[in-house]
Symmetry: C4
Subunit: 231 residues, 4 copies
């Protein structure tokens, strides 16, 4: 079942390696079929080079395994929370990519300090609050999803396709699983740029909202004029 989606999610997970976003098996990507409300996700702890479409795991929105021999990613419950809340998204990803994780560990969002950031993220990339002890105890992965949703209140997830989970690392998403990986690549790049910019001058302010608009809307929405028209 879902063979095309499995192929796409397989490729998305392999891209994590290609783009140097992962050490060992520290990252997972999923995709959803909205008609059937089923998601395809990486199996837990399996090296990217050993992944095949057959090894992908299908789960429903309750987190029950529908197909597959292997356990799904230990972060599956977090993915599910995001799919349930954000109807616009078709893919979710999680990595420990070093620059994004650095910001997550520091507990700070990533300010929009340049047009590279504005081309993809419509404002500061948020960082969740620190999880309280009682929230860690039960349903930890599900609660991680809740923290993300709380922080995203009032933000269109396609305008801000990334978040930092405090003390942990980034989650990204997009229209599909491949876009979730692309946003993880760009997140890593802007996290790096913001880090070094702040080292030169820690008081550097974010770019103006006018410049943020110009660049984000040059690439997104109906008046976009970057790239080639596609039918």
């Amino acid at each position: 079942m879902l063979e095309l989606l499995k192929q796409e999610v397989l490729k998305a997970n392999q891209l994590l390696k290609k783009y140097n976003l992962v050490t060992f098996t520290w990252g997972n990507i999923s995709g959803i079929n909205r008609k059937r409300n089923l998601i395809v996700i990486k199996p837990s702890g399996v090296p990217y080079a050993e992944l095949t479409a057959d090894k992908m795991v299908v789960v429903n929105l309750k987190g029950e395994k529908v197909e597959g021999d292997l356990n799904p990613s230990s972060d599956t419950a977090t993915h599910l929370e995001l799919y349930k809340k954000f109807a616009q998204i078709g893919g979710v990803g999680h990595t420990h990519s070093p620059w994004a994780t650095t910001w997550a560990q520091s507990g700070n969002g990533i300010p929009a300090l340049g047009t590279t950031h504005a081309d993809y993220f419509y404002g500061e990339i948020p960082c969740t609050k620190i999880m309280e002890d009682k929230e860690i105890a039960n349903d930890y992965e599900e609660f991680t999803g809740q923290l993300i949703i709380d922080k995203m209140q009032g933000i269109d997830p396609l305008n801000m396709p990334a978040i930092l989970v405090n003390n942990h690392g980034p989650f990204t998403w997009g229209e599909n699983s491949i876009k979730a990986v692309e946003n993880a690549v760009v997140l890593e790049e802007v996290a790096r740029l913001a880090f070094y910019t702040k080292q030169i001058d820690n008081t550097t302010p974010p770019i103006s909202s006018k410049l943020l608009d110009k660049h984000f809307l040059r690439k997104h929405g109906e008046n976009a004029y970057y790239g080639q028209k596609t039918d």
Copy 2:
């Protein structure tokens, strides 16, 4: 038309990838034929691996497409401003290479802190002023060119073949499109060196004008003695 120039500009764009100056499609190179006042430029949003000479776009100095099926780079208007103002240059490039972009985001020029810098750039690499809201609204890319030209007032563009656009990233240029890429490589390297030097000691002054002269003129101008004589 312009088949040789297309081949050169194709190669120049491919070098962006080879020298690790670009993520995805975040960079573009162009070259000009001064006799015909036509420029060849990368199509917008096309991956470097998929580029061919046929896909290159030919535009005139008004920005009108003269040949090509694809849209030219969204930065074309900036390139054109530079060609119109700087008669000495034959190629222009733009990237979001990380070290140069870091300096651009910080709003600071890159001081000449060593001979590596002096071998290619005859003084501090300038950074443009922050664009005002009203300047962003219309003809943004053209106005970016204007900001560069304002900042370059009184500077020979072949003595300073790079600039940082504030909040954005670098533009470079040279005698031809290949030189524009080479200058982008060196810019990235000296941006890195300057960053780390300042981290060791933020009060490090620029090198003396005598040493700047010695190194720049050892490689440029009629008394140059670096490399091999070419006829």
Copy 3:
């Protein structure tokens, strides 16, 4: 003798290169056969590309060579101290990997600032005290092992499979020689993350003990649920 262990230790040493943990020959891995109390270790100063199972050196717990044409690693005495003290471990490694060595040179342990750290190391990765002059004079390598053991007092070595030797660099260990390398890879990654996190905000505190427990025990011990069940 010990042909299987030689193959494993050979592979472990080759992984040092694959994972970019070593310059020239600056790292060595060993493994132990607990039934025979013999260890297999890299020969001193031999490039990784020239290693073969035949070149591996077998020594007993007194440090006497039992088999092999070449001298064992100059750090052999340190390895032996660890095997004699920590009955749980089956492999030991030493590198000068840059991020871990940076922390070792600074004389500071690596605080647990995120879940990446907590997935592998159950608390702050310790750093030994500075060696005194009289301790350097004789049996230097053996004394290095003693310093490590002193610092590990009361800590289960499988809960903390890495340490920093002050002014020098890291030692890691694990259930076998391959695990010792894997822990060296993760050590390098968390050393890097902790460095940059502290640069953003030097006052960043360690994660809560609850979160540390959650992540370490999610991957280790009888209630682990990361990865696939293995029989």
Copy 4:
């Protein structure tokens, strides 16, 4: 003439590229035949991939070309000063490798902060004084050699096979041209380690002279016990 030395020096120059010490043609290695007082050196401005033994240039100690179609490196005069002064050395190298150049640009020597440093350099790696204007005017490259020699007063060049030229970059040397490259690799590594160590704690002191002795003499001199005995 000097075919074996040409082969060695060719290889040494190619190693600069392999070890990522050079951008474009920013580095050169030479070797000397002490019996004939002739040196073989890289031609100026030729890419490493295009080098052949035939293209190597032979010069005498006065800097006169004895064989070769191409111009020798523009740094030849500096190499010659070092060969004339340091009878123990057989190879010299110069690069703009980024970490060593960073320290050179800051005008600081590299303190011995760990055993990695002590394994190769017997104390702080010195940095020359800033060149005065009148010294830059004439025989600049020869005077660069003089500055190095002044700074090395009283130091055995084989105990300290590297120096930083202020505002410029490193020179290294060794028993032969291959060793000069190896010392450039290690210099780059210890420059990086020292930079980051100082970022963690700028007051980190050098290691004790006892530890410096232990590590340097473990690898050098008649009581060395690292590696394999060679006849």
